[in-house]
């Protein structure tokens, strides 16, 4: 019982499995608590915006979702790269577990953006720089998921996915700037996010609470999915067999 905890301790799938199993309920608890607090602040306390009315309240889910979509891609590419370079299976499994959650947040950001755009800009969609690059990010997630799902061999899937994620991560800044110039060169910026009206402090607090909720939700879901992937990929090992009671 006197094992030393090293940074690599939880890179063993069996240890990760039991640790994550204990953490998941706590993550869910944090998610629910912060989501309730954030939604109460957002819908109950935060004042109505004088320009956008109550429509602006969708930022409490839109902005955290947009942040998560970008952070998760970077984290996914990082874990995929670590898994490829150091041949760490657990890191590759994290990367695969992160992808669907990242895609979900990207879609959520686009969808809530459309719902927000209709009452404020009068249109569901404009080919604005931010919207377009977020849309391409969604396609990159889909490409990663499709590639890793199409390859049966787990190691080849992880490494091929890692290469794609890295190529994508290198390309994201190029895509972002090209889309930005494309938009400004052609029609001028129709919507500027940088010139948003100053935000009341209650709005900011509600948004930060919702961001914490989104982080905790991501941890909970990704841990659960990673546990399932661990069980699937380690199904011939002794510890999984003893766990499931199989022969």
């Amino acid at each position: 019982m006197t094992q030393r905890l090293r940074w690599s301790t939880f890179s063993a799938p069996s240890r990760f499995y039991s640790m994550a199993g204990r953490l998941v309920p706590w993550c869910w608890a944090v998610t629910v608590l912060f989501a309730i607090a954030g939604l109460y602040m957002g819908f109950g306390i935060a004042p109505t915006d004088f320009q956008q009315g109550d429509a602006y309240r969708i930022i409490f889910i839109h902005v955290p979702a947009a942040w998560m979509s970008m952070v998760i891609y970077l984290v996914m590419a990082f874990f995929a790269a670590v898994g490829w370079a150091m041949n760490a299976r657990m890191a590759s499994m994290y990367a695969r577990a992160l992808a669907p959650t990242g895609a979900m947040f990207t879609f959520l950001a686009l969808w809530t953006g459309a719902l927000w755009g209709k009452p404020t800009w009068g249109t569901w969609w404009v080919w604005d720089a931010r919207l377009t690059s977020e849309f391409i990010l969604l396609l990159l997630y889909f490409g990663y998921i499709a590639l890793t799902e199409a390859i049966d061999d787990a190691r080849r899937a992880a490494n091929a996915g890692a290469l794609l994620a890295i190529v994508g991560a290198v390309n994201v800044p190029i895509i972002y700037f090209s889309v930005k110039w494309w938009n400004t060169l052609h029609q001028g910026a129709t919507v500027s996010m940088t010139a948003a009206p100053k935000m009341a402090s209650t709005m900011l607090t509600a948004m930060l609470l919702m961001t914490v909720a989104c982080w905790a939700y991501s941890f909970a879901v990704v841990f659960t999915r990673a546990r399932a992937i661990v069980l699937e990929q380690e199904s011939d090992t002794d510890w999984v067999r003893s766990l499931t009671g199989a022969r």
Partner: protein, 222 residues
């Protein structure tokens, strides 16, 4: 080093020359797809002139993706790809040679056919010259990026469809700068900025894509 590159290119060109019709299929696709647009959108010259550069570029993208899956497929089937991986010569050079051959057999015909499509879309002389020049700089990028996708999806059941999903989002900058240059010429501005950016994308891809393709081949044939 460069002899490996030239030998690979020569070999692939010879193989393409033996199957001429197969090698010209992407060009056929390009012309058919581009000529469907006037029928679908309507024959008004004003509209056609406006959508022309975009249509030509998008059709070139699709034609390149359609042909790129064949870059490694037959070598993979007859086992010569594994010999290439085992060869003492650097794999990056071999890959570059194959990409060069792919561009010469599919990219270059598209560049040559582009003025014809430009005429069909009622574009003026200066715009057609700009369009052809952007394709000349841009189509190598498509072959280079397509090679990464083809190497990643080597031997997969749904490989051909996957390449589209994997590579097309990455070609967005090329598409934007390519059509942007033609748009600038049409509105009387200098296309120099777009050409510089397109050239920068080409240099970056030429440096980055062959090593990535080589790494992807090693992953796929592990």
């Amino acid at each position: 080093m460069s002899s490996v590159l030239l030998a690979t290119t020569q070999r692939d060109l010879l193989l393409a020359g033996r199957r001429r019709i197969e090698a010209l299929l992407p060009l056929g696709f390009f012309i058919v797809a581009a000529s469907l647009f006037p029928i679908g959108v309507g024959p008004e010259p004003q509209t056609l002139r406006q959508i022309g550069p975009g249509v030509v570029w998008v059709c070139a993208l699709l034609a390149a993706m359609l042909s790129v899956t064949q870059m490694f497929a037959s070598d993979h089937q007859d086992g010569s790809l594994e010999q290439m991986l085992l060869a003492p010569q650097p794999l990056v050079m071999l890959v570059t040679g194959k990409v060069l051959a792919h561009w010469l057999t599919t990219g270059l015909p598209l560049v040559i056919a582009a003025p014809l499509i430009g005429l069909l879309f009622d574009m003026n002389g200066a715009a057609i010259v700009a369009l052809t020049a952007t394709l000349l700089v841009g189509t190598p990028v498509l072959s280079l990026l397509g090679a990464v996708g083809a190497a990643l999806t080597l031997g997969l059941r749904s490989g051909a469809a996957l390449v589209f999903l994997l590579v097309l989002p990455l070609t967005v900058p090329t598409l934007i700068f390519g059509t942007g240059a033609v748009g600038a010429v049409e509105s009387g501005l200098s296309p120099a900025a777009h050409f510089s950016l397109l050239g920068a994308v080409l240099i970056l891809t030429a440096l980055g894509a062959p090593p990535a393709t080589a790494a992807a081949l090693r992953i796929s044939l592990d």
